[in-house]
């Protein structure tokens, strides 16, 4: 097949919603980079000023502006660093390999992205393509919601999905329920956002349903960029139709007819799985016009990110979809009234949406009852790091952390003890010592000064240098800070420099005061959650590891001035 011309590529996408990323990927795939000709064509075709387009393209890690051979990207994320990621990068650097932040495969390090294929392995010899792991059967014997059927054969196909009730919720909703009733059940279930912020899903949907303006949109946030989080990948790889069904239901409940999945770049197999699932669903009359022969229409557009953690933040995500520079948006107004193209939009995490069909099929009371100690429902936890059985676990909300770590996941390696765990991937900083006596629910973890967020937990055993771990975490935030606001743009950089050594006062109390003051300014004044959360890392280091900090600062005296 001849390669498409510039005009053909632009024409293919120009009239589609959210065309920019798709068009850029199409050029990048054809040429291996984005030439100035290509950018000129995109600029004219999509009417984006060329300077703005150029600046925006440089924002994303995975777009290259120079011809470069096929690229290998090695994960040097915070978990893979504990598992030889940096060594693998060095071994592959003669082949032009570059590093990438956490690629969402922490349960099976080290992932290497080769074109549109994910390889895993800890050395060149063991690298091979491998599907992402299925979650293990629930070790606690608890009833599950999202993972209840994920281990069934052929679950990722439409036929397999239908075998155990797939799309029954949709059919029931469209035939027997009003949109308001769907919102009502979700509200009653107490389902709350699983993407990090925990906003009640029913209230979000009601706000979109009530907001004036059309067309409305449902955006499935599948950017999953938080280091140590790989739960959304498991759902999409093994149970893609639940996500689609959840989106159509969200559309029906809110009156939205447009759906977008914003998928992180680092999940190429997932992209193909979702693409296939969308085609199957369309062919099965479950997507598109006149769904299940009724009057409801809903389209799903699949878009790939290009390597930017901040694009998981909903305002940044919407700007990215719209082809704008992906800075977060000022809030209010919120996406529920001013979302995609300034119209009412529900942005929901993959896990949130995947819970919806189950809740509608089995009822709000059933879902609420899955939690413990008065908490409603379940949460997926991505567990990784220095632990015997890393992986995704569906826990009843309220499960003790120690039960998960020791009973479910086998505890630390022999001869080791657990020194600290991160919360919310990296965004919640560290818990250590007695503070690890928490249950997995927001009130309990917030009581220790952290938060559960998206549910990534990275384990550090007693062999690890916690200042180093904190540095690597802060470096991630510095690399991913978008640069919109001062406290985060400068603060993440200064904290990284201080944690690296070689910068900051030589006196411990002055050093500590600088780190605390920067953290306080970031928490109080940052424009989005990235800058607000990053100081959890430095502050929890000061709180739980004062001795290690003292050593670290004392080493400043032996450095050259």
């Amino acid at each position: 097949m001849p390669k498409p011309t510039n005009q053909e590529i632009v024409a293919r996408w120009r009239d589609q919603p959210a065309p920019l990323l798709a068009v850029l990927h199409a050029f990048h795939e054809r040429d291996g980079f984005l030439s100035s000709d290509a950018l000129d064509g995109v600029s004219k075709g999509l009417k984006i000023p060329i300077a703005e387009l150029y600046g925006t393209v440089t924002f994303y890690h995975h777009f290259s502006l120079q011809p470069s051979g096929p690229t290998l990207r090695v994960c040097t994320g915070n978990v893979c660093r504990l598992r030889g990621g940096l060594e693998l990068l060095e071994a592959l650097s003669p082949k032009g390999a570059k590093s990438m932040p956490c690629a969402g495969r922490c349960d099976e390090p080290v992932p290497v992205l080769s074109g549109s294929e994910s390889l895993v392995g800890t050395s060149i010899d063991t690298l091979r393509a491998k599907p992402s792991p299925l979650p293990a059967p629930n070790p606690g014997g608890y009833a599950e919601c999202i993972f209840a059927h994920i281990r069934e054969p052929d679950r990722s196909t439409l036929a397999g999905y239908r075998r155990t009730g797939g799309y029954e919720a949709l059919s029931k909703a469209l035939r027997e329920m009003t949109p308001a009733q769907v919102v009502g059940i979700i509200t009653e279930s107490k389902l709350a956002g699983r993407g990090g912020a925990g906003f009640p899903t029913g209230a979000k949907w009601k706000a979109v349903a009530d907001a004036p303006g059309h067309p409305k949109s449902i955006v499935c946030n599948a950017d999953e960029g938080e280091p140590g989080c790989f739960k959304d990948r498991a759902i999409m790889d093994h149970d893609p139709h639940t996500v689609l069904e959840g989106m159509v239901l969200a559309g029906y409940a809110t009156g939205a007819e447009r759906g977008f999945i914003y998928l992180r770049y680092e999940y190429p197999e997932t992209f193909r799985t979702l693409e296939r699932a969308i085609i199957e669903a369309q062919a099965g009359g479950l997507l598109g016009r006149g769904i299940l022969d009724g009057g409801f229409n809903f389209e799903i557009h699949l878009r790939r990110g290009a390597g930017a953690y901040i694009c998981g933040e909903e305002g940044s995500l919407l700007n990215s979809l719209e082809g704008k520079h992906p800075f977060p948006r000022n809030k209010p107004p919120f996406p529920v009234t001013h979302g995609f193209e300034n119209l009412p939009t529900a942005v929901n995490n993959v896990e949130t949406l995947a819970s919806v069909p189950h809740i509608l099929r089995q009822g709000a009371t059933w879902y609420r009852g899955l939690g413990r100690n008065g908490h409603a429902g379940t949460k997926l936890i991505s567990l990784s790091g220095d632990i015997r059985r890393p992986g995704n676990y569906e826990v009843p909300i309220g499960l003790p952390l120690k039960t998960l770590l020791f009973d479910w996941a086998g505890g630390p390696y022999s001869g080791r003890t657990i020194q600290a765990v991160t919360m919310a991937g990296l965004s919640g900083g560290f818990l250590a010592g007695d503070a690890m006596e928490v249950t997995l629910d927001e009130p309990s973890i917030r009581g220790k000064g952290s938060f559960l967020g998206a549910g990534g937990i990275i384990v550090f055993d007693d062999s690890r240098d916690m200042v180093r771990a904190a540095h690597d975490a802060m470096e991630f935030f510095a690399d991913e800070s978008c640069g919109k606001c001062f406290p985060c743009r400068i603060g993440t950089q200064r904290l990284t420099e201080r944690l690296a050594g070689g910068a900051g006062p030589r006196d411990l109390s002055a050093w500590t005061e600088e780190v605390r003051d920067i953290g306080a300014a970031m928490r109080a004044t940052s424009a989005c959650g990235l800058g607000m959360a990053a100081p959890f890392v430095s502050d929890s280091l000061l709180q739980f590891f004062p001795e290690a900090v003292r050593f670290h600062v004392a080493a400043r005296h032996t450095e050259k001035p």
């Binding site: 600046g55 925006t56 924002f59 919109k484 406290p487 950089q493 300014a521 607000m532």
Partner: protein, 362 residues
């Protein structure tokens, strides 16, 4: 947006005082109207509020964290404190952080209209403390040899006012933000020179820059001249829009031009001519005596009396032979307004015709 008094029908509490506001007003705008100096660096009243510098944060009762007053709209019953000790401390920390990323804070005011904003705030908050030292951000572009705009990004603090003014006010979209985080850098398409971009050299980016990172190269030629900068308000003579400008002089030398932010016709905007094309005033090649063309085509310096007599004869001759409509006056845009006025008076009253125009209508 400035609301009229009758539109201000809602009330809130601002630093302990009950005040009124109109639907849509931001907390910053309300504070401003009440003479409260909330500090800002990324704010330009002509642009959409951006919320980048976070210096404008204020405390709102009931809110978990301070909010940016530039992007937060006032709401009925809000209780707002603009300068609690906690907020002032956050501002000082933020300013100390900004100072730490920058090569210098004290810059020559000739660099641009807003170039002293950072300096002023750093002094107000006593923020030049040497804390938070580390890498500098921004890289000056000395390869861009255009004659007008110095791109001294070592001083840049990534407030993006330049990018936003170019897009929102000028509509040129010549510059943008490259990379991210601490590595952000103001760029043009393909990181080239301004002259190869869609830049029209209107200078608006220079005048809104709060640090002097973008600077008026022509004005900086006068940096070493002795004396204080004097500003004289006048109207740009180049065209019929009538942009207000402040002419900057040192002693009897004109050193540069700045747009008047309160100019009714331009509100801080200028074009390349009004902004940068003033060299002719003090140019060595400028004519200082009348010249008379000789039969061989060369010019001869003559005195004013002789020149005026010669010109008067010419006009009189044309009038007698061809009538009043044979005379047409065009005033020069390079001449002062008083001259333009005299010119039309001269043509209208002297010859009895309306055949008069000004070259700046072209």
């Amino acid at each position: 947006m400035s609301a009229t008094a009758t539109e201000r029908q809602q009330t809130m509490t601002l630093d302990g005082q009950e005040v009124t506001f109109a639907q849509g007003e931001t907390l910053y705008e309300v504070a401003r109207r009440h003479q409260i100096q909330v500090p800002t660096l990324c704010y330009d009243p002509r642009l959409e509020a951006f919320g980048g510098c976070r210096l404008c944060v204020v405390e709102v009762r009931g809110a978990k964290t301070p909010v940016a007053s530039c992007t937060t709209r006032a709401a009925q019953g809000m209780v707002v404190s603009t300068a609690t000790p906690a907020v002032e401390k956050l501002r000082q920390t933020l300013l100390e952080m900004v100072v730490s990323e920058n090569r210098e804070v004290a810059v020559n005011p000739l660099r641009g209209f807003a170039s002293q904003e950072l300096t002023t705030l750093v002094h107000r908050y006593g923020a030049q403390t040497g804390r938070f030292q580390g890498k500098h951000s921004g890289k000056s572009n000395s390869a861009d040899l255009n004659p007008f705009i110095l791109r001294d990004y070592d001083l840049c603090i990534s407030c993006y006012r330049c990018v936003r003014v170019c897009a929102e006010q000028e509509g040129d979209y010549a510059i943008s933000v490259m990379h991210r985080g601490f590595r952000t850098q103001i760029t043009t398409e393909f990181n080239g020179n301004l002259k190869d971009s869609s830049c029209t050299f209107c200078g608006q980016c220079v005048q809104t820059c709060p640090t002097g990172a973008l600077a008026d190269k022509k004005a900086l030629r006068g940096a070493d001249l002795p004396g204080e900068i004097q500003k004289t308000r006048t109207i740009c003579p180049y065209c019929g829009v009538g942009c207000s400008v402040d002419i900057m002089t040192k002693g009897d030398r004109m050193v540069g031009i700045q747009p008047a932010m309160d100019g009714p016709a331009n509100q801080g905007a200028l074009c390349v001519k009004g902004q940068f094309a003033f060299d002719f005033v003090q140019h060595d090649d400028r004519l200082k005596t009348p010249l008379l063309r000789q039969p061989d085509g060369s010019f001869k310096e003559i005195g004013w009396d002789e020149a005026l007599d010669f010109a008067a004869d010419g006009f009189r001759n044309a009038l007698e032979k061809h009538g009043r409509r044979s005379v047409y006056g065009i005033a020069s845009g390079r001449a002062p307004h008083e001259a333009a006025y005299s010119m039309q008076k001269f043509i209208r009253a002297g010859f009895g015709t309306h055949y008069v125009d000004n070259c700046s209508r072209a």
